[in-house]
Symmetry: C2
Subunit: 164 residues, 2 copies
């Protein structure tokens, strides 16, 4: 505690400085890795990161997903998904059809060509990620996973407090 010339308690600008620094470091790490992955995807496959991410979601869902599902999973807006899907259908990577049970719903899935293309990219992508995290020990990885899970939980609670 520091007292100023009038002997009143003064708050240093450091009250939550650690959390702020942590957030900036988290953001830096993500931006760095994201940029690296984006660059490699472009160089090697001439594909954008959002397209790759969308295809990754669909690869895990052979029966297809609705646009809302994709939107939630990717944590992006609905309108964003609409545009992404449009371009990927156009390029032949995705198949899109209206649900028969609910005509509001669009179900999308990878085409055969889209899946093959994605698998090719994903195999290399995995080696890039391994290289990027190469200096972390298995123990570091586990510990980071744990702390990030805790962070995610904390952030979600904070978010739900706000929307309430």
């Amino acid at each position: 505690m520091i007292l100023d010339s009038e002997t009143k308690a003064v708050e240093l600008p450091n009250e939550h400085g650690d959390e702020l620094r942590l957030w900036l470091r988290l953001l830096t790490c993500t931006t760095l890795i994201e940029g690296e992955v984006r660059g490699r995807l472009r160089e090697r496959f001439d594909v954008t990161l959002p397209r790759f991410d969308l295809m990754a979601q669909l690869d895990k869902a052979p029966e297809g997903m609705t646009l809302s599902d994709v939107s939630k999973r990717m944590m992006v807006s609905n309108g964003n998904v609409t545009g992404l899907v449009e371009r990927l259908v156009e390029s032949g990577h995705l198949d899109r059809r209206t649900s028969e049970s609910d005509r509001r719903v669009q179900v999308i899935r990878l085409t055969k060509a889209g899946r093959a293309e994605f698998r090719r990219m994903a195999a290399e992508h995995e080696t890039w990620i391994a290289d990027i995290f190469a200096e972390l020990t298995p123990r570091d990885v586990r510990e980071l996973m744990r702390l990030l899970a805790k962070t995610k939980g904390s952030a979600q609670k904070s978010a739900s407090r706000r929307e309430a």
Copy 2:
């Protein structure tokens, strides 16, 4: 180790699965927090996150920064900065002048109004961040800082290997 029907070693699709999962979790955390901060900045101050980030850089540099400096610090492209600065000069938050010693260089700094506005936003922003990370203990924070520093180093080395 798993052996297939021909008694040959088979690589499960899990060779680097841990790193991949770590990357996805890192990305999820960042996206979550970023969305939360963006939403609050919009609600409370009707400002975008990139503008806030740019002003934050300038607040730390009272003598001003060149556009290249900003570009490196924010890890975004030059063209991106040009546009951001344009809009912030337009709105009266930034002052921009050509360097006298090198006429290629543009030096930008916060105007008086811009600095006041930023300080107001930053004070609240800090409490949001504290709330978002509220469930982490001081020890968690320290440990995350350490592991993310290690991650950043690892990623930077990987990036420099590629560009070489």
